[in-house]
C-alpha cells in the first residue's frame, strides 16, 4: 500500500518535471526541472532498495552534471528562445506523433512480454554498497578500467576544446577586450583602483556590458 503511494508520488513528480523540461522555453527553468527529475528518480531508487545508486544519482547527476549545465547556461547568458517563426514548424507535430508511436510500441512490448507477471522477490539485498563494490571489483573489473580510460579521453577532449577557443580568442583580442580601452592605457591585472575606474569608463562608453558587445569591441579595436 505504502509502496504504491510512494511510487505514484515520485513517479508523478518525475513525469511532471520531465514534461516541464521539454515545455519550458527558458533553458534555466528546464535545468531546474531536470534536477527535479533526478531527485524523484533517486527517491524511486530508494524504494527499489538501491541506496548506493540513489546516493550516486544525487551526487553525480544533480550535483556535478547539473552544476556544469547551469554553469554553461550562466556563462553563455542564454536568453529565452526567440519567438521567431520556426523554419520547420510542421516537424513539431511530426515529432510528437513519432513520440506517441514510440510510446505505443514500448507499451505493446511491455504487455506482450512476460514482465507484467514478475512480482517483487522476498528479500532484496543486492543494492548495498558492499555488493555493488564486490561486483565492480571482481567480475566487472574490465568494464570499470575501460571506464577510467573513457574518463581520461573525456578529460583530454574537454581540455582540447577549451584550449582551441582560448587560442582563437587571444589571437583575435576577443577575450581581453576590456583591457585595452580607456585612452590607450593598457590595463594589466594587478592594478586595483585605476583598473576598476578605467573598466567602468570603458563600460559606459561601450553602452552595455554584455559579452557580445565586448567581443565586437575587441574585434573593432583589433582592426585599427
Amino acid at each position: 500500500m505504502w509502496s504504491i503511494l510512494l511510487f505514484v508520488l515520485f513517479g508523478g513528480l518525475a513525469v511532471g518535471c520531465a514534461v516541464a523540461v521539454v515545455a519550458q522555453r527558458n533553458p534555466l527553468y528546464s535545468a531546474i526541472s531536470l534536477i527535479g527529475v533526478f531527485v524523484a528518480l533517486a527517491c524511486l531508487y530508494m524504494t527499489l532498495a538501491a541506496p548506493f545508486i540513489a546516493a550516486v544519482q544525487v551526487i553525480v547527476y544533480a550535483g556535478a552534471i547539473m552544476v556544469l549545465v547551469v554553469f554553461v547556461i550562466m556563462l553563455l547568458n542564454v536568453e529565452e528562445e526567440v519567438r521567431r517563426p520556426v523554419r520547420l514548424q510542421h516537424m513539431i507535430v511530426v515529432g510528437v506523433l513519432l513520440g506517441a508511436a514510440l510510446a505505443a510500441e514500448t507499451f505493446f512490448m511491455l504487455t506482450a512480454s512476460g514482465t507484467t507477471r514478475v512480482g517483487p522477490p522476498a528479500v532484496r539485498d543486492v543494492g548495498s554498497t558492499t555488493s555493488v563494490g564486490t561486483g565492480l571489483f571482481t567480475e566487472y573489473l574490465l568494464p570499470f578500467e575501460a571506464t577510467s580510460v573513457l574518463i581520461l579521453m573525456a578529460l583530454v577532449g574537454a581540455i582540447t576544446l577549451a584550449r582551441q577557443g582560448r587560442d582563437r580568442a587571444a589571437a583575435g583580442g576577443g577575450g581581453e577586450a576590456p583591457g585595452g580601452a580607456a585612452g590607450g592605457q593598457i590595463i594589466q591585472p594587478g592594478f586595483t583602483a585605476e583598473t576598476g575606474q578605467a573598466f567602468a569608463r570603458y563600460q559606459i562608453e561601450a553602452g552595455e556590458a554584455s559579452a557580445p558587445a565586448e567581443r565586437a569591441a575587441g574585434r573593432e579595436e583589433e582592426k585599427h
Binding site: V21, S30, L34, F38, L41, L75, G135, A158, G165
Partner: protein, 100 residues
C-alpha cells in the same frame, strides 16, 4: 507491492518524453538535457530489473552509464561552448551546415 511493469512503464514514458524533446527542441543545451533524461530512463529500467531479479549486475551498469553521462557532459558542453563562440547562438537550426 509495486509490480515490475509499473517501473518499466514509467521508464518508457520518461524515455519518450526525452525523445520528443530532442526532436522538437532547437536550443542545443535543452536537447542535451533531454538526452540526459533518456539516459536516466534507461537507468531506472536497469535498477528495477536488478532489484526484482536480485542480481547486482544492473546496478553496476547504472554506475557505468553515469560515468558515460559525466564524460558526455564534459565533452558535449565543450562543443556547445565552441558552437556558441563561432555563431553567437545556440539554435541548432543555425548550425545546420558543418562550416563557418
Amino acid at each position: 507491492m509495486v509490480p515490475l511493469s509499473f517501473y518499466l512503464a514509467l521508464s518508457a514514458v520518461l524515455f519518450t518524453i526525452g525523445v520528443v524533446g530532442v526532436i522538437i527542441k532547437r536550443n542545443a543545451i535543452q536537447m542535451f538535457m533531454c538526452i540526459e533524461l533518456m539516459l536516466n530512463a534507461v537507468n531506472l529500467t536497469f535498477v528495477a530489473f536488478s532489484s526484482y531479479f536480485n542480481d547486482v549486475t544492473g546496478q553496476l551498469f547504472v554506475f557505468i552509464v553515469m560515468t558515460v553521462a559525466a564524460a558526455e557532459a564534459a565533452v558535449g558542453l565543450g562543443i556547445i561552448l565552441a558552437i556558441f563562440r563561432n555563431r553567437e547562438s545556440l539554435d541548432v537550426d543555425e548550425a545546420s551546415v558543418l562550416r563557418l
